[in-house]
Assembly symmetry: C2
Homo-oligomer: 119 residues x 2
DNA sequence: ATAATATGCAATCATTTGCTTGCAAATATA
DNA sequence: TATATTTGCAAGCAAATGATTGCATATTAT
């Protein structure tokens, strides 16, 4: 039931990402959030629960309202995971760029070998 | 069945993230990947399919083998999504820091108007 | 040609998801 | 106090997910 509940899982759902976008700037109460979506209030409530369970959301009771505040810093895990690869792929692009430039120079002097493409 | 298939969904699964980590450095064939995990080859095959469907993976047939190559640049969507919030949460920390510093200065000098921070 | 290897595909299954509706509890307002 | 508002909780459901097993197919090695 409440098995896997990590940040990656939480942001996998587009509605939940939208919720984060909605409350990133400032805290909003549950109903106000729900009004922004087509699904039922309960559906949103469940999404909020998921977000809260992985720390992306802070819920504070205020009278009969519950104010949801984003804890964006909890996205750090995702940020770091992607960042390591970001380094790799940008680095790789640079390497490719230099390779192409190198090839262009060679193009005027020596012939190139063609690659096989197996289907 | 094959409904939502985006990058966020793809990296939500820890096994799939592990697969990406495994082939990020260099291309690996399907069985070699499967051997690294406890689940069946077919389970991995399915994960690879998911990764391939959202472009995170490139599969090239080579004889009877299929070589899986990571397309890390496809993580850019995630990178950008997180980056916008990364700015906010680090910016927020900085804002808090400058606010504190500002307060400290004000304690001794004349009051000043605080800056607005627009995104 | 035959056997071994690398994989995909299909059927099946237990869980997990994402939603919905209805009902209950707490708090604010008239 | 009676009523409206804001939410949570529980039951029920269809679809998606992740995994398994068995069988088929293509390619390579003997």
């Amino acid at each position: 039931m409440e098995a896997r509940r990590d940040v990656f899982q939480a942001i996998a759902d587009p509605t939940r990402r939208a919720i984060i976008g909605l409350i990133a700037a400032q805290p909003v109460n549950v109903n106000a959030i729900a009004e922004q979506f087509d699904v039922s209030r309960q559906a949103i409530s469940l999404h909020l629960k998921v977000l809260a369970e992985c720390g992306l959301l802070n819920i504070t009771q205020q009278g009969r309202e519950r104010i949801c505040e984003a804890r964006l810093d909890k996205l750090n895990e995702v940020h770091e995971w992607v960042a390591q690869y970001h380094k790799m792929w940008t680095g790789r692009l640079n390497a490719l760029k230099s390779l192409v430039e190198e090839e262009e120079k060679e193009a005027t002097s020596s012939p190139k070998k063609s690659k096989h493409i197996h289907k």
